[in-house]
């Protein structure tokens, strides 16, 4: 609310309506006056008001009734009751029902001025507080990417630096770390933002289909090509083409891709015309492309062309500082989507969330919060909302070798079956003697 705060005057006396509305307008407020309760409620439904100056005694629907209705429709509106001396007890009742204050008629101009000024200043502080909080959150976000850890801050800086260049970017990181979000952030912060952003998941398509998707085809290029179709390169002209899982493309497609990058021209499948394209290429992979190059699975010349700038997204387990921020972000997101009220996480649940390794990264965390907001109403995220807790207590460190996994699993099954070897062997689908051997081999003992 600014100095141009919107004030609605509700009074059955025309002279009060007129004089007060005029005075408020002179005081730089946007004012309107109505003379009865139903008109006031209509006005409240029609547009937003910051303050209502409401007469207590009115014929028909009285001030208290109007107050209740307004509070039902728009509880954030500040209501000041106007009353004569005789009605002070009713004004006190009105304040109990949500009125901000009351003012006695005839109004004291200084009192009313100060009261309105105080409300406006308070509302300005509330708005400012909201904006500051939002700005604080925005500092930890780049588009839809959230994070305040040093690793993510570096990523944000890199996005900012490369966005307005035409450099080819290779985004690396585990699955679910948000590689496509980074690609979108680069596009939306570049001068190409008003042109298309086209994303293709290379792993999702078989090789021949990927080729026709990327480069399009001319009519008659192959059986079933009954019309000319533009490929993703053409569709992305002037904008950005994002190729996800680039490590999975075949050698043949790699050559074609390299040619487009070098010549900025290509031919549709079955076509003879060379088509010029102006496309910024961003690629992503969860594979170690350098290793693939060493093994001869990926062309080194293409690799160096794609890897002009590398943005590496750390897995969630390496940036645990961001987890509370991400939880808040996803809670807010799904609260809006599912009309829920999640706003905090209980400490045991937070401990679990922080110790869990999050193999599916941010996407997995998002799914967990989404699931919780679907099945419950909040406001607290609890241990029972975390699906991975139903498996077992999340181990603090993951076993790495197969032998360690086997040992841990056998110990867990023995515990679950109260060290009944026959029963545990049946569950594990092995012989009792084999189980005995393994217990001995791993030195497993029953914990008292």
């Amino acid at each position: 609310m600014t100095e141009d705060a919107k004030i609605l005057v509700v009074d059955d006396e025309p002279i009060v309506c007129l004089s007060l509305a005029n005075w408020l307008q002179e005081e730089n407020y946007l004012a309107k006056a109505v003379q009865d309760g139903p008109s006031a409620i209509e006005a409240i439904k029609e547009q937003n008001w910051d303050i209502v100056l409401l007469d207590l005694k009115m014929p028909g629907m009285d001030g208290l009734e109007v107050l209740r209705k307004i509070k039902e429709i728009a509880p954030q509106i500040v209501i000041i009751m106007m009353t004569a001396y005789a009605s002070v007890p009713s004004s006190v009742q009105a304040m109990k029902e949500g009125a901000y204050d009351y003012i006695i008629k005839p109004l004291d101009v200084e009192e009313l001025t100060l009261m309105l000024k105080k409300i406006v200043e308070h509302q300005q502080l509330v708005t400012e507080n909201f904006l500051l909080r939002k700005r604080l959150t925005d500092r930890y976000a780049f588009g839809d990417i959230i994070g305040k850890s040093p690793e993510m801050v570096k990523v944000f800086e890199l996005i900012d630096t490369v966005a307005d260049t035409n450099a080819t970017v290779l985004i690396t990181g585990e699955t679910g770390t948000g590689k496509e979000l980074v690609a979108r952030a680069i596009h939306t912060n570049s001068s190409r933002r008003y042109s298309p952003f086209i994303a293709v998941s290379c792993a999702a398509l078989p090789d021949t289909l990927l080729e026709s998707e990327l480069f399009g085809y001319d009519k008659g290029a192959f059986t079933g090509a009954d019309r000319t179709k533009k490929g993703r390169f053409e569709l992305a002209h002037g904008g950005t083409l994002f190729l996800d899982e680039i490590g999975d493309i075949s050698m043949k497609t790699q050559i074609k891709l390299l040619r487009v990058l070098q010549e900025k021209k290509f031919q549709r499948l079955g076509g003879t015309d060379l088509i010029d394209v102006d496309v910024r290429l961003i690629t992503a992979t969860n594979r170690e492309l350098a290793e693939a190059v060493e093994k001869g699975q990926f062309r080194s010349d293409l690799y160096y062309r794609l890897n002009v700038v590398n943005i590496h997204l750390p897995p969630l387990r390496e940036r645990k500082d961001d987890i509370p921020l991400l939880i808040t972000h996803f809670m807010e997101k799904f609260n809006v989507e599912f009309n829920k009220k999640f706003d905090r996480i209980e400490q045991p649940a937070l401990n679990l969330v922080l110790s869990y390794p999050w193999p599916g990264n941010v996407r997995e965390l998002e799914n967990v919060i989404e699931r919780a907001t679907v099945i419950d109403h909040g406001p607290e995220l609890k241990v029972q909302h975390l699906p991975f807790c139903n498996l077992e207590q999340a181990p603090s460190s993951q076993p790495e070798s197969l032998e360690e996994v086997e040992k841990m699993h056998i110990a867990r099954m023995l515990d679950r079956n109260d060290w009944n070897v026959a029963q545990t062997a049946r569950v594990l689908n092995i012989d009792r003697s084999t189980l005995h051997k393994k217990i001995k081999k791993f030195g497993l003992e029953r914990q008292q």
């Binding site: 005075w23 002179e26 005839p106 109004l107 101009v109």
Partner: protein
């Protein structure tokens, strides 16, 4: 021949000290660069008296002032020593027609006490009256309250706070006032 109004009339409503009227006239000439003329009126005040409130209705006074405004009157400012009220407010220092012709001010509450007595140590009453007159006339020239605490158009809560502002328009208000004045003088029919 069309006579374009260009005089600001200052109307003495009942007994008002001559030196105050002279100060107001001089100040108007300084600020607005327009000719002023002082008029006497004894009929308006009795009509505006509210016997229950023992105050004078500023709305009614404004109406009557407009009725007596001469044809060459661009603005008309009533000055009284009596306490004024408007139907919605318990008292007012003055009232003006926003972007209109008439304004009225009272010296009653400018004297420092609710009973209109002058308090010892008060700044010269003339200064306060001058500021109030320019402020209300500013409204008739389409000026709203100004955020600059030094500007004469700043709304001050209480008479003591008003002492802190100057009797001048800030540059923005002055610019606005001149623009409105030009409209009043040359464009309004």
């Amino acid at each position: 021949m069309i006579v374009r109004p260009r005089v600001i009339y200052v109307v003495r409503l009942g007994e008002v000290e001559s030196e105050h009227l002279e100060a107001i006239s001089e100040s108007i000439q300084d600020h607005f660069g327009l000719e002023t003329n002082v008029m006497e009126n004894h009929e308006i005040l009795p009509c505006a008296l509210d016997r229950v409130r023992k105050q004078y209705n500023s709305n009614l006074i404004l109406k009557k002032l407009l009725e007596i405004c001469p044809t060459d009157g661009l603005k008309i400012l009533g000055v009284t020593n009596f306490d004024l009220f408007s139907p919605i407010f318990s008292y007012v220092f003055g009232e003006a027609q926003f972007n209109g012709k008439g304004a009225v001010i009272s010296t009653f509450r400018l004297r420092g006490e609710a009973d209109g007595k002058i308090l010892p140590g008060c700044p010269p009453l003339c200064d306060r009256i001058e500021k109030e007159a320019i402020h209300e006339l500013g409204h008739t020239f389409g000026l709203r309250h100004c955020a600059d605490p030094d500007c004469v158009m700043h709304y001050s809560v209480g008479v003591q706070c008003a002492d802190r502002k100057f009797a001048f328009f800030c540059p923005a208000c002055r610019e606005m006032m001149l623009w409105h004045m030009a409209t009043d003088l040359f464009l309004k029919t």
